[in-house]
């Protein structure tokens, strides 16, 4: 089936060439980082994880979001998602691939990455994260590919693949739960030390993943003859809306616990993220205040808007609102959550983090690689589905 990705119009090739260009620039950046060391990034002794790990965390969510299609379609036989479910599975594939690349980009000694397998360590959450992510990648690529192949050949899919797909449903929950455990099991970081982290991760994932999917579906509808159907989109919008509501509710809970309990450690990071944090010398640190407030405003505005039927009556409106939710959650989780957790440090110093050009180039390149994989996979899907229909 992969040969279907080798034919396409000029726009298709131009898009792939554009992604390759970004990947090339990022590769150069990585050569620099590999030879000089991670000092080529903006990370420091105080803020020891940066853009790579925060993107990784966000993308685990995007990957898990695919389950919002797989579950209704396969478990509840919800036929409306017949054309879109495969898109969700393949989005999960691209997202997990990005996650793994971000982890590799973040390692100080990437050549030793396989030490994680050579010295398996069950008490480390990172060990489990590696397992669940790789298995989830496999489940989705095999499940999606075999189902699509069966559809192409107009044969019933083999029985065993259903088992894999059913397994992928709880597995999706597990990848984001385990990823939350990376953070919420650490004793010295108050912002992360909250039992609601895993549910909050899942809620934001079930909004961000499908939101990106709708945007992709609308782009494909515009540029190809492939249409996932109005009903599928509107059902997905409902899922996004409620997941986003839950997410903002959970954020509100964090605010309540922090400020009502009045425990300094629980308030510090929220202060830093939303109001600016002042040190003993009177300096104010607020480099994330603007993005975080922006994130909350656009996210909540879009979520409330989606509750009104009038705002859901055109693809343009839906596209914009989904875009707002995606960007909002990307800032909240893809920047604020990881970076905020390091402020203040365990010794109560405040260090602000700014990514370097090298770091931005590598980050952009990983995203471009993800979209490259996504484009190829979606091209195959579209070709198979359209060929069958014509």
């Amino acid at each position: 089936m992969i040969e279907k990705a080798l034919t396409g119009n000029r726009l298709y090739w131009a898009w792939l060439a554009f992604l390759l260009l970004i990947m090339g620039v990022g590769a150069l950046g990585y050569v620099h980082q590999f030879t000089y060391g991670l000092g080529a990034t903006g990370m420091s002794r105080d803020v020891s994880w940066g853009l790579y790990i925060s993107q990784f965390t966000f993308l685990v969510g995007v990957a898990a979001g695919g389950v919002m299609l797989v579950l209704p379609y396969y478990l509840h036989n919800y036929k409306v998602f017949g054309r879109i479910t495969i898109l969700g599975e393949f989005m999960a594939v691209a997202a997990v691939a990005m996650c793994l690349m971000f982890i590799l980009a973040d390692l100080g000694q990437p050549m030793r990455a396989l030490n994680v397998l050579l010295h398996p360590t069950p008490h480390s959450i990172l060990f489990w994260d590696m397992i669940v992510l790789n298995v989830y990648l496999l489940l989705n690529i095999v499940g999606g590919w075999v189902m699509l192949n069966a559809e192409k050949k107009e044969l019933p899919p083999p029985k065993w693949v259903k088992g894999l797909i059913y397994l992928s449903i709880p597995w999706a929950i597990s990848i984001h739960t385990v990823t939350a455990f990376l953070y919420c099991g650490l004793p010295g970081r108050h912002y992360w030390l909250t039992a609601i982290l895993a549910p909050r991760f899942l809620a934001s994932a079930f909004a961000a993943g499908p939101a990106l999917l709708i945007i992709c579906a609308l782009i494909m509808r515009r540029f190809t003859a492939f249409d996932v159907g109005r009903e599928a989109i509107s059902k997905l919008v409902t899922i996004i809306t409620y997941a986003a509501i839950l997410n903002f509710f959970f954020v509100g809970l964090e605010f309540f616990v922090g400020y009502y309990s009045n425990i300094p450690g629980h308030m510090h990071t929220l202060d830093y993220l939303f109001f600016g944090l002042t040190d003993h010398a009177g300096n104010v640190y607020d480099n994330l205040v603007w993005p975080m407030r922006f994130s909350m405003v656009i996210g909540m505005t879009a979520t409330i808007a989606l509750l009104f039927p009038k705002m859901r009556d055109s693809y343009t409106k839906i596209g914009w609102l989904c875009g707002m939710i995606f960007v909002s959650l990307w800032i909240d989780k893809g920047l604020g959550l990881v970076l905020g957790g390091f402020v203040p440090t365990p010794m109560e110093y405040i260090t602000e983090y700014y990514p370097t050009g090298t770091e931005l180039a590598i980050t952009a390149a990983v995203w471009a690689t993800g979209f490259f994989i996504l484009t190829i996979l979606y091209k195959v899907v579209i070709s198979v589905k359209l060929a069958k229909e014509s």
Binding site: Y36, G37, L38, G39, M43, S44, R45, D46, S48, W49, I103, D106, L107, G108, Q109, P110, R112, A113, N115, V116, L118, H119, T121, H123, S124, I125, L126, F127, M130, L182, Y183, G185, L186, P187, G188, R189, H280, G341, F342, T345, P346, M347, E348, Y349, T351
Partner: protein, 280 residues
């Protein structure tokens, strides 16, 4: 423990294995006694009392009397372990980004952020307080490490195996004491004359590190192995400012000091059980 209670606890334990309580319950069964009633906060301390557990008492008062002492301890530690010094930024501020430190001084409010410093004696804020790896009895960094590159050795020392570290920095996020440093760049950059740019007093008997691995205080494991005490303690000994020894030996000097002086540990509420104690 009477028989029926033990039986009940075994059954309760077995059913818990199916659930979240598995590890705790399982350990209890293996030992033939399940954990009863209220959690014992000192449980880990008791558990640790097999074999050695090295620790240090730091007498902050002595360091306050002798302001140069802390600097001397740091220098000797950093020079025998080839800890690089990345000096200052171009604008003259300290290079905090690349900084690597095994032993350093900090303010009371930074070393003990959970303790109130409201209306405390005025000289408290002037006191340079030594900070280092706490060699916790229950170390979160060891839990986090995905390759066992950081681990607790038979003497209770939290060690680093630099060969195995993949540089994921999970341990840095896990450490509640800011004790871990990462080699953001090669510590072996050379000057024009072939000497190391960032390692001033080079010790040819101890390795350096390479870029991309985490490092921290090793409680001078390499000195303990040949019968010496940690270098910082040796330096501070003349002023009687630090005591080193086996916390599990009730007759060791350190146990006697801990018995007679009021000491505090950093962030005791986190349950890590630090092996470093402070007399303030």
């Amino acid at each position: 423990m009477d028989n029926s209670r033990r039986k009940f606890l075994k059954i309760a334990g077995l059913s818990a294995i199916a659930g979240i309580g598995a590890p705790t319950a399982f350990n209890g069964l293996l030992k033939g006694e399940a954990l009863a009633s209220a959690p014992d906060l000192e449980e880990n301390v008791l558990k640790g009392e097999v074999g050695k557990r090295y620790g240090i008492v730091i007498d902050v008062r002595k360091f306050a009397e002798n302001k140069a002492l802390a600097r001397r301890c740091i220098n000797v530690c950093h020079s025998i372990h080839n800890v690089p010094d990345y000096g200052l930024n171009k604008d003259g501020s300290k290079n905090k980004k690349d900084e690597i430190k095994w032993l350093w001084t900090d303010g009371f409010e930074n070393v003990f952020p959970d303790h109130s410093h409201y209306k405390k004696n005025a000289d408290l804020h002037e006191m340079p307080i030594l900070a280092l790896c706490n060699h916790c009895d229950n170390p979160p960094c060891v839990r986090a490490c995905p390759t066992k590159a950081t681990f607790k050795n038979p003497d209770g020392i939290v060690m680093m195996d630099f060969h195995r570290c993949i540089g994921c920095r999970f341990c840095m996020a896990a450490c509640p004491y800011g004790a871990r440093s990462f080699n953001w760049r090669s510590p072996r950059e050379l000057k024009a004359d072939g000497s190391y740019k960032h390692i001033k007093n080079f010790n040819a008997e101890f390795p350096t590190r390479m870029r991309g691995v985490v490092e921290k205080c090793n409680l001078c494991a390499e000195r303990l192995a040949i019968g010496k005490i940690p270098a910082c303690v040796e330096e501070a000994r003349s002023a009687n400012a630090m005591v080193f020894g086996d916390l599990n030996d009730p007759h060791s000097e350190i146990s006697e000091v801990l018995n007679s002086e009021f000491t505090i540990q950093r962030k005791p509420a986190l349950g890590t059980n630090p092996s470093i104690f402070y007399i303030i």
